[in-house]
Symmetry: C2
Amino acid sequence: MDLQASKQKFIDTWGALGSEWGINKSVAQVQAVLLVATDPLSTDDIMAALTISRGNANMSLRQLMDYGIVYKKVLAGERKEYFVAEKDIWKWAIKIAMMRKQKEIDPVVQVLHELKAETQKDKSEEGREFNHMVSDIQAFTGQLSTLADKIFSSNRGELLLKLLKVIM
Amino acid sequence: MDLQASKQKFIDTWGALGSEWGINKSVAQVQAVLLVATDPLSTDDIMAALTISRGNANMSLRQLMDYGIVYKKVLAGERKEYFVAEKDIWKWAIKIAMMRKQKEIDPVVQVLHELKAETQKDKSEEGREFNHMVSDIQAFTGQLSTLADKIFSSNRGELLLKLLKVIM
DNA sequence: TTATATTTTCAGAAAATATTGAAAATACGA
DNA sequence: TCGTATTTTCAATATTTTCTGAAAATATAA
């Protein structure tokens, strides 16, 4: 397998992984193309590399920039916009995890908290049972959420990983 | 809000959370219905509770049983099968995480490993760059993967969580 | 064994999601 | 300013995923 084939395999694998994690396939592939590129790429380059439409390329790039893991790069004397990918995997693992946590976990923790409060004074057997179950889940997700915040704020992620390897 | 409304809200919230994490909405809702139930439920009970088809109820239940977070319960003198949900959140957090890791992460780690090996001896600037990038990602995902295995095997998850709270 | 209850399967329908492509908006140089 | 290159938007279309419902398979009781 030559280098180009290896790169292609990486792009495909990355796209498949993205799909499984609820990240749009095109978005994941665009990131992959930028990761394997040696130079900044334009929208047209990406359209050509993945044979996707301009609209798709544009929206995927925008999403990656929203995530903060792809940057615009101005090339001197060029009117087009060029893009490069953040290559530090820790940076994007943390950014994406934080964003997803905020969007997906935090609202659930909030609802669980409300349900817990609302059923607090229900003294029926059924009410106490429900309250107990919700409390358990709330405690668990709440702990995970707090832990995630601590890991993500301040770049202690890498440190943490090393630490864990020692502990376990 | 009365108890029934609270339960309904829980079911809806749980379904929404599931969708966002790539778990089918029906599957998540079936688990929720079983979690809030006071007694074992039959397929018909679940169909009625969520107004879903028999096929959907059956497949969702099967998937939850495959995950190992819903059990069959035989009721004396009853011909129908009844189901109950595992209520220990640690048990299913670990089971689901393990399963998803195995299905989604491990193959990627494997491909990355192969790509790393294949490009090891490419001495061109481009080849070295690609190899370096793949190696970084592979090291990161490999570490996470190993860490996850350690946490999941043996029920050290809860312990770990307590430990982290002290450390951080 | 036969009749009946229950579960499973799966082709097709419906719903949700992703993608295209061309028009509109914007940015830039002359 | 105008003309052109480039980017953005979004309605229409294509694709993927989920769900239904009825037929087939299986289990149970008599």
